[in-house]
Subunit: 137 residues, 2 copies
DNA sequence: CTAAATCTATACTATTCCAGTATAGTACTG
DNA sequence: CAGTACTATACTGGAATAGTATAGATTTAG
C-alpha cells in the first residue's frame, strides 16, 4: 500500500527539471547528486520517464534530460504510471479477474474501494508539477 | 500500492460475520469454505482480527468467530489497520525520517500526498460494514 | 576522424516481503 | 477425558524491491 522508492526518486527528478529555466537540461550525474539518488539507479529511472514521454534526453557532451512538455501538463499521476503502471489500491481494481472468490454479483467492498480510488486518482491528476514548484519556498 | 491478499480475505470474513444474526458465530472451517479462503490461512487472518479487537472467538465444539461490536462500528480502515498497520501511500507519510533526501524545508510532493491520503483514510473510515452489507443484493 | 562524454537497454544480484503451510499448545463441551 | 476448535509462532518457496553492472549507441570538441 505504498509507492516505491524508484517512484519517489522520479518525483524528485521531475521536480528538479520543472524548476529549471525552459529548455535547460541537466545530466544524470548532476541529478543524482542534487537529489540524493544513487548514481547508477538514476539512469534506470530517467529511462522509464523518457519511455513514458515525460522527459526528453540529449546525448553526448553537454547532454542530459529536460521536460518533454510544460510542467503544468505533468502530474504526480503521470510519474507514478510511468514507474509503476496504472494505480490500483486493490487487486480487483487492477484487473477484475484477480478476485479469487468469483463473486457472482458486485461485491460491496469492491464498489466502495473503486469510489475511493477514483477520488485518489483524480487528486493525483490534479497535482501538476507546475503547482508543486509554485509551493516551494 | 495495493492492499494485500490477507486483507482482502479479512474483508470477506468480516462481511460474512456482519451479515449473520447478532450473537451468532461461525467456525474457521465454514468461513474458509463460504468465502474461498485457504483453510489454514484463515486462522492467521482471524487471529489478527481478534488481536485487533474486531472479532471475538469461542473455543471448543460449536465455537467460532463473531463480531466484537456492531457492524456499524467496524470500517474498512479498521480491518486494513488490523492486517497491515497504519495506512500510508508513501514512505515519508509512514514515518517522516524515511525520506533519504533529508529535505530541509517541507517537500511539496509530501504535502500533496498527505492531503490525498487524508481524503482516502477519511473515506475508508466512513465505509462501515453495516453500510456495505446494506448494499448487498 | 577519433576520443570522451553522455544516454540506452538489458542482465544480474542480494535482500525483503508475500502467501501460504505446519505444528505444538490451550480451552471448552459433552 | 476425548474430540473439537481456537492460539501462537515457526517455517518455506516464490515474487518483488532496490540496486549494480555492462555492453552499446549517439553527440560534440578538437
Ligand atoms: S471479494 Fe470483493 S473486494 Fe475482494 S477481490 Fe473480490 S471483488 Fe474485490
Ligand atoms: S522527497 Fe518529498 S515525497 Fe519524497 S520521501 Fe522526501 S519528503 Fe517524501
Amino acid at each position: 500500500m505504498q509507492l516505491n522508492q524508484a517512484t519517489d526518486y522520479a518525483f524528485r527528478a521531475v521536480l528538479h527539471l520543472a524548476s529549471l529555466p525552459a529548455g535547460a537540461v541537466v545530466s544524470a550525474r548532476e541529478l543524482a547528486e542534487a537529489q540524493a539518488i544513487p548514481p547508477r539507479f538514476v539512469l534506470k529511472i530517467m529511462h522509464a520517464l523518457t519511455r513514458a514521454g515525460l522527459v526528453e534526453s540529449r546525448r553526448g557532451p553537454a547532454g542530459g534530460f529536460g521536460l518533454a512538455r510544460p510542467a503544468a501538463e505533468i502530474s504526480l499521476l503521470d510519474v507514478i504510471e510511468a514507474l509503476e503502471g496504472p494505480v490500483a489500491i486493490h487487486r480487483c481494481l487492477a484487473e477484475r479477474e484477480a478476485c479469487n472468490k468469483h463473486c457472482t454479483s458486485e461485491c460491496p467492498v469492491h464498489a466502495a474501494l473503486r469510489g475511493l480510488q477514483d477520488g485518489l486518482v483524480a487528486g493525483l491528476r490534479r497535482a501538476t508539477f507546475a503547482s508543486l514548484v509554485a509551493k516551494k519556498p
